[in-house]
């Protein structure tokens, strides 16, 4: 599937990802240890001896350099340590589980982003200056203008409260997360809230790109050959129009990951985004460091994936 050059390129990028992860985790490690406050403090304020015992238990009494070596050794063994707030909670399995939850919601968001965005963009382009175009463009502007937390709150009200009242409790959005994998509504509604603003960006980009492509000579040639509009649009025009869209997929994935911090907290989804906010507020340094490292790896991998997608969409691109 991949040429030797492509495999070499992937290998180089993976090595860079490792360096990126180490660099990010090191910066965060040093940064959080300089912050005032401590996860181990509470209003009872135990005596200093007890506090020292606790620091010793978590190896926080070691010099920073030794703590860092321990941390790096742990990371290399896939062990990000233990939560400082929730005792006995190992961070690596915790983050892996939360990543799966976030992946489900984020996956739904990407499906919405691309599905709705491309659909609206193509419709607007092929029906330029008609009510379809105006509707699609207006929808895009609305999505583009509204922050995801506003959309999330409105959806929560609509499906969680209003729908419950309208149907007498027969139908409603069941917030939170059920079981290991959640239910469809628990994935789709937050996914929509997360993805819709980005879908609007994709829609605008797709429309502009399609409008440019469908006026190209090769499209006119395809029509002249007697191909159906469907074939011309999907097989010839859309494929080329998608290249700019793929270009912004990387930043969009990053936007979805960072947007999940807000969305997961609004909908009560136990994913990485919720963890991000909780662990920072609780000063759970071990989780914060692990989480940033995790995010760095995910974002770097997402960018690599997008780069590889170019070759699939545009065979002229080679690595």
């Amino acid at each position: 599937m991949f040429t030797r050059g492509a495999l070499l390129y992937i290998g180089q990028r993976l090595v860079l990802i490792v360096f990126t992860a180490v660099a990010v985790s090191s910066i965060v490690f040093l940064g959080v240890h300089r912050l005032p406050g401590s996860a181990l403090l509470n209003e009872r304020r135990p005596d200093p001896a007890a506090q020292r015992e606790l620091l010793h238990f978590y190896h926080l009494d070691l010099p920073l350099s030794q703590q860092y070596v321990r941390f790096v050794e742990g990371v290399l063994h896939g062990d990000l340590g233990e939560s400082l707030v929730n005792r006995s909670v190992q961070i690596t399995p915790l983050l892996l589980r939360e990543a799966r939850v976030s992946l489900e919601v984020g996956g739904a968001a990407i499906v919405f982003t691309i599905g709705i965005g491309v659909l609206l963009g193509v419709l607007a382009a092929v029906r330029q200056n008609t009510w379809v175009d105006y509707l699609a463009t207006t929808t895009s502007v609305i999505g583009y203008s509204m922050p995801n937390f506003v959309i999330a709150s409105l959806l929560f009200l609509l499906f969680g409260v209003a729908l419950y009242n309208w149907t007498g409790g027969a139908l409603y959005y069941n917030s939170g997360w059920t079981g290991d994998y959640g239910t469809l509504d628990q994935i789709i509604i937050p996914g929509f809230a997360l993805g819709f603003p980005y879908a609007s960006i994709v829609a605008r980009l797709t429309r502009a790109s399609m409008l440019e492509v469908i006026r190209q000579d090769y499209v006119r040639t395809a029509r002249a050959k007697g191909l159906t509009n469907r074939v011309v649009t999907i097989r010839h025009a859309l494929r080329n129009a998608l290249i700019p869209v793929v270009t912004i997929l990387g930043p969009l994935v990053i936007g979805i990951i960072t947007g999940s911090v807000v969305i997961e907290n609004i909908f009560g989804i136990p994913g990485l985004g919720k963890e991000f906010a909780t662990s920072i507020l609780q000063r759970d340094y071990n989780i914060v460091i692990g989480l940033f490292t995790f995010y760095a790896i995910i974002i770097a991998l997402a960018n690599l994936l997008v780069d590889l997608l170019y070759t699939v969409i545009d065979p002229r691109i080679r690595y």
Partner: protein, 568 residues
């Protein structure tokens, strides 16, 4: 071409509608009834907004942990729903020697852990000694009057170097004798607290001292429930223990707890029927005020909304030790005393409650002293003379305490905004001091953990302070906060008169006899203007009408095994 797309859209539209409906899961539905009037599904569901920290008796500390944990473990004594100390695994209250130094307990021979291991007196010696050694950052200090405590509490790595407190002996399997170094009137109360004084199974704990409690298979206790599932930071599940040794036998068979983002989500889900109650697990003060006000106006839900006085007081703390603090010294009279009193008298607490607590819905004015309304040692409404609003006298005191205005120039009040009420009271204080003292005080929010750290280092001249009582005994308030050795004494306040009174009251075995002395200490602190009281907290709860036996007292949720889920 465009027609094609529009046509496709038309074709897809009904599917989309059906799909949308399809993905919305209907989670409602009442449970079937039986002749007993109880629901066939005895599963209790409620949310908490943060995961448990630990369920290990040696380490348990946070309110959420205690509220859950009290259903999984037992001690010698416990609090009943009216906060009276009653026997738990002990068959009766202890017999106390005439010198107040020896406590003898008889244990219930039926008591056993859910894994079948019997509970014997040696288990208590092991459990209390372990807590004394490993629980110094929690409630291990509750055993500091037991003979041998000092040696055990200073043991390093107790799990591998186990020492037992020499003052605890077991003449037989069902008799436990505890000797104290000096009379300690609060000892029974400390033993009743669902924290360090709970019994654990040494066989299980020794296998993995740090993590035994975290896994359902090894989280072995003596309580009516046991943990059967735990997904950290997502959910907890507990199941009633078959043939539990105590009473009443649990009717609620399962308890499912979701760890959610915030209580606004919990309230929404409660209204959908997804939860049976809101407020358990220490969440009684966490319902957003907007939701409380909305629920109050709802004819149906207002009947399900309950308010309970909780055990938290907040006040303005003055720094008594930091160099340059204008509030330092002059305990009963003098410029610093006048300044402290001026700041206190300049607060109209009724106005504060009206503004910061939605007209008194979520808190009440702290006019009865340090100890929260409803607890032993409360002085009575309006009994605290430093909590009376008197702007004229406040201005006069400010003038006498700081004639030039130099001492109070650029003062800053520090607070942690992790609770909405802290921010609301800070803003209200600033506005009232401006209006009533004609003095601008800066207010500075500091994140909670940094705030606590700075507070323990006496860094703030003036700040938010508060206390949530551990048990209904005045000792808990004074010893921690207002004596020199108090671990949570962030102000550095120390008055020899108060120290003597508290020491005398602490040694009195009879609480009834001790209370007048604690009251005297309280009054001395008021005379010193040791702090400026603000408000007492209230807890908000929602209970479905079909719940029986649910509720909360000032401290704790009612025990799960006392509850039943009626048909609905």
């Amino acid at each position: 071409m465009s027609d094609l797309f529009v046509g496709k859209l038309r074709a897809v539209r009904p599917l989309a509608v059906l799909g949308t409906i399809g993905i919305l899961v209907a989670a409602c539905g009442g449970t079937s009834t039986a002749n007993t009037g109880l629901a066939s599904d005895q599963t209790l569901r409620f949310p908490i907004d943060g995961d448990i920290g630990t369920l290990d008796p040696a380490a348990v500390n946070a309110e959420t942990d205690v509220e859950i944990y009290q259903n999984l473990f037992d001690g010698l004594l416990k609090f009943d729903d009216t906060l009276k100390v009653v026997p738990d695994i002990a068959t009766d209250l202890p017999t106390i020697s005439s010198d107040g130094l020896t406590y003898t307990f008889k244990l219930n021979p039926k008591a056993k852990f859910w894994n079948g291991d019997p509970v014997v007196a040696k288990d208590f010696i092991y459990s209390f000694s372990r807590a004394a050694a490993e629980g110094q950052d929690a409630y291990g200090g509750d055993f500091d009057h037991v003979v041998g405590y000092d040696e055990v509490s200073s043991t390093k790595d107790w799990a591998h170097n186990q020492k037992m407190m020499s003052g605890m002996t077991a003449p037989d399997d069902h008799t436990l004798v505890i000797k104290l170094t000096s009379p300690w009137g609060v000892f029974n109360t400390e033993l009743a607290l669902a924290a360090a004084a709970q019994v654990v199974d040494s066989k299980v704990v020794n296998a993995d001292d740090a993590n035994w409690w975290a896994t359902p298979a090894t989280a072995v206790g003596t309580g009516p429930y046991k943990m059967t599932a735990r997904t950290p930071k997502q959910s907890l599940e507990f199941t009633a223990v078959d043939n539990w040794w105590g009473s009443p036998q649990p009717t609620v068979k399962k308890v499912k707890i979701d760890v959610i983002g915030d209580m606004a989500q919990g309230v929404a889900k409660y209204e959908q029927g997804g939860y049976d109650l809101i407020g358990y697990g220490g969440m009684g003060s966490d319902i957003p005020i907007d939701d409380v006000l909305r629920l109050q106006k709802d004819p149906k839900l207002s009947k399900e909304l309950k308010f309970v006085n909780k055990v938290r007081t907040i006040w303005v703390q003055f720094n008594f030790v930091k160099a340059g603090s204008p509030f330092k010294g002059d305990l009963e009279s003098g410029p610093a005393h006048d300044l402290r009193l001026a700041f206190s008298l300049a607060i109209d607490r009724d106005q504060m409650v009206s503004v910061a607590c939605a007209g008194g819905v979520t808190c009440s004015a702290a006019t009865g002293g340090l100890i929260t309304k409803g607890l032993k040692g409360y002085l009575g409404d309006g009994a605290d003379s430093s909590a009376k609003f008197d702007a004229t006298q406040a201005k006069a005191l400010l003038k006498s305490g700081d004639p030039t205005g130099a001492k109070t120039k650029n003062l800053t009040y520090f607070f942690d905004p992790n609770k909405a009420i802290y921010k609301a009271t800070a803003e209200n204080l600033q506005s009232q001091w401006q209006a009533n003292l004609n003095l601008h005080v800066n207010i500075q929010p500091i994140d909670h953990h940094t705030f606590l750290q700075s507070l323990s280092h006496h860094e703030y001249i003036m700040s938010r302070e508060g206390w949530q009582a551990d048990y209904d005994h005045p000792q808990d308030w004074f010893d921690n906060l207002f004596v020199k050795a108090g671990g949570s004494n962030g102000s550095g306040y120390s008055d020899p008169k108060v120290e003597d009174l508290v020491a005398k009251a602490d040694a009195e075995p009879s609480l009834d006899k001790a209370i007048p002395t604690y009251v005297e200490a309280s009054k001395q602190m008021i005379a010193d203007a040791a702090f400026a009281p603000l408000v007492y907290f209230k807890g908000e709860f929602l209970f479905k009408p079909y719940l029986q036996g649910s509720g909360s007292n000032n401290f704790n949720d009612f025990y799960w095994n006392e509850m039943k889920i009626g048909s609905h």
